[in-house]
């Protein structure tokens, strides 16, 4: 570390502190459960919308109840939207290219059923990108592990033939949902146990 890295370290430690409660992983697990339920089933597509609408405020409410009274409240600066959008676009195109290259290698590039079966690989890389971003911001090792697990399980679950439309994707989403809920749940339990509620929490702390 050079002396010019100090601010970056403070920023990362703040991210780490704000995400070590495990609630982000729990929210990701809930969303992946929705994917497992709704993928390839048009009748359940509305659950995506409910998930997206409910998860953000739900996460904030849980943090206000359990996290901020323990570690305090802090707001991270909002991301540079242009930079974030560019990064996401590059990641999505990269994920498509990786899957396309894999299918081309197997001689199944034009087989639409092979593309459907490869959906977990694509989803695994896309979700893995989200976890990787959070891991880089916070330095949390368990989130690096989830990023890796997302891509690896996605790749593995693209192989077996499972009956049903997008069944491979649903199995992948279920596996990742359980993994996220387990990892997040354990982290949350540990956080509650190790970090007691502070007397300094509140509007008149000083």
């Amino acid at each position: 570390m050079t002396r010019r890295d100090g601010l970056e370290r403070i920023r990362r430690e703040a991210h780490h502190e704000l995400h070590r409660d495990g609630l982000t992983e729990i929210a990701a697990g809930v969303f992946l459960f929705i994917v497992a339920l709704a993928a390839g089933r048009p009748a359940f597509y509305w659950t995506y919308l409910v998930g997206l609408v409910v998860l953000g405020p739900g996460l904030r409410r849980l943090r206000t109840r359990y996290t901020y009274p323990r570690i305090g409240f802090a707001e991270l600066p909002s991301e540079d939207r242009r930079r974030l959008g560019r990064g996401m676009a590059i990641w999505v195109v990269g994920a498509f290219l990786v899957v396309a290259a894999g299918l081309a290698f197997l001689g199944a590039f034009t087989d639409h059923l092979a593309w459907r079966r490869a959906a977990p690989a694509l989803a695994g890389i896309l979700f893995g990108g989200g976890f990787l971003y959070l891991a880089q911001q916070s330095g949390l090792k368990r989130v690096y592990a989830l990023a890796m697990a997302s891509a690896v399980t996605g790749g593995l679950l693209a192989w077996p033939r499972i009956e049903g439309a997008y069944a491979n994707l649903r199995v992948w989403a279920l596996v990742m949902a359980l993994l996220c809920l387990a990892v997040g749940g354990l982290a949350f339990r540990r956080f509650l146990r190790e970090t007691p509620i502070s007397k300094e929490w509140g509007p008149d702390a000083e």
């Binding site: 601010l7 920023r11 502190e17 109840r65 901020y68 409240f73 707001e75 600066p77 509140g202 000083e206």
Partner: protein
């Protein structure tokens, strides 16, 4: 002819903002520089200062116009959030540049 660049760098130390040239206040302002805002408890935990110390240093930074206090609600819970003012941001950036230049002038 001797090179007097290192001396110039060291001489700039006299331009340092004395209000920021204090470990506790520097810690507070460095945290607020990388965050949008933080409350008393978060700063208390991150800086490791005592309550009284943090309170008095934050007040000094507030009086200098470097830090502003905002009472807000997070999910209906009242929170006192501290954030850096543009003036505080400018002062810290200038302080960093000066001190890094001086340290560079001293060499390894």
């Amino acid at each position: 002819m001797p090179n007097d660049a290192p001396l110039d760098g060291l001489q700039r130390l006299s331009e340092l903002d004395r209000l920021l040239h204090e470990p506790a206040r520097l810690q507070i302002i460095a945290h607020l520089f990388v965050l949008e805002s933080a409350d008393f408890l978060f700063l208390l935990r991150r800086t490791g200062l005592t309550k009284g110390n943090l309170s008095s240093h934050v007040r000094k930074l507030e009086e200098a116009g470097y830090v502003e206090v905002e009472k807000k609600f997070v999910e209906r819970h009242p929170v006192t959030a501290y954030s850096l003012t543009p003036r505080g941001r400018e002062a810290f950036t200038a302080y960093r540049e000066t001190i890094l230049e001086a340290l560079d002038a001293l060499g390894e």
